[in-house]
Symmetry: C2
Subunit: 174 residues, 2 copies
């Protein structure tokens, strides 16, 4: 699938997923895209836990408390785990590293016909810690991003919520 | 160009660029890829200043002080400018927003036959402030990322510095 088509089609999906599993072959392709993202000083600060078994999926859903179709019906999830130590001096780039990996994975998810939504702020704190406990992540590491994955039931695709180019960008000299 | 090919070919280029301009049509495609990236709460916190005129390019090179071929010979640069206000409560996601946009642009740059390198920590502070002044960015905004762009002189491509899949990823349940 063409890169520019994928980039423009990717969107945040918050609906229910179809009752069809995500093959491990596809999950590996998606996570490989995350691994292929750059990281500051090549520190490779993000690691990935891939969840596709009923027991762990259900435990994570319980950790949320609230009910939302995009995690309750997700057939798989990828947890991005950050090593927060500084890359050099006192500068940390684990947030950027994790975001670049997440963006690559969202594009791969889109290209393979799945949908997802970047969960970050909604899990920050208690829920992230609980997901880490479920997945056996050492407490010193941070579960930062969770991507629920599946085939979307609602196929209406990307809503039109983009601003015009001129609102976001300009040439330094016209 | 296929998305998975682009993702695996993208790399950080630190060599010199050829003396060939980057057409504005391509720069617009690249920045549109950045605009198409997600942002938390759709806050669209990243904006973009595209630099392709000799005067501004040369002023930015001077701001660095040191000499490096990847900015001295760059035919264009894109400055990512962050609006740092919180997206909700006291949570800010402008770093993630900017990183996702940067990653999309690096993929677009690769797909179009150019190369770049994600400059962030090396400009943080004095150099970023000076670039902001040169480009007329309001001081309340942060110039966070600079992408120098051009056709690479050295075509050796991505070095093999990736870790094995198993070093970065695992299934929650085998």
């Amino acid at each position: 699938m063409d890169i520019f088509e994928v980039i423009s089609k990717r969107y945040s999906y918050r609906g229910a997923f179809m009752d069809q599993p995500v093959p491990r072959e596809d999950l590996i392709k998606i996570v490989q895209a995350g691994i292929d993202a750059p990281s500051a000083c090549n520190a490779q600060s993000t690691s990935f836990v891939i969840v596709d078994d009923a027991e762990n999926l259900s435990a994570i859903v319980k950790a949320f408390g609230n009910k939302r179709p995009y995690y309750e019906t997700a057939k798989a999830m990828i947890a991005c785990v950050c090593d927060r130590k500084p890359a050099y001096d006192d500068l940390s780039f684990y947030v950027e590293d994790c975001a670049a990996a997440t963006q690559n994975m969202l594009l791969a998810i889109t290209a393979l016909g799945y949908a997802s939504v970047w969960l970050d702020g909604v899990i920050r704190g208690r829920i992230a810690a609980e997901i880490g406990r479920i997945l056996g992540v050492p407490p010193i590491m941070q579960v930062r991003v969770l991507l629920p994955i599946g085939i979307p039931e609602d196929r209406s695709g990307r809503p039109n919520q983009k601003s015009p180019f001129e609102y976001r960008a300009r040439f330094a000299k016209e």
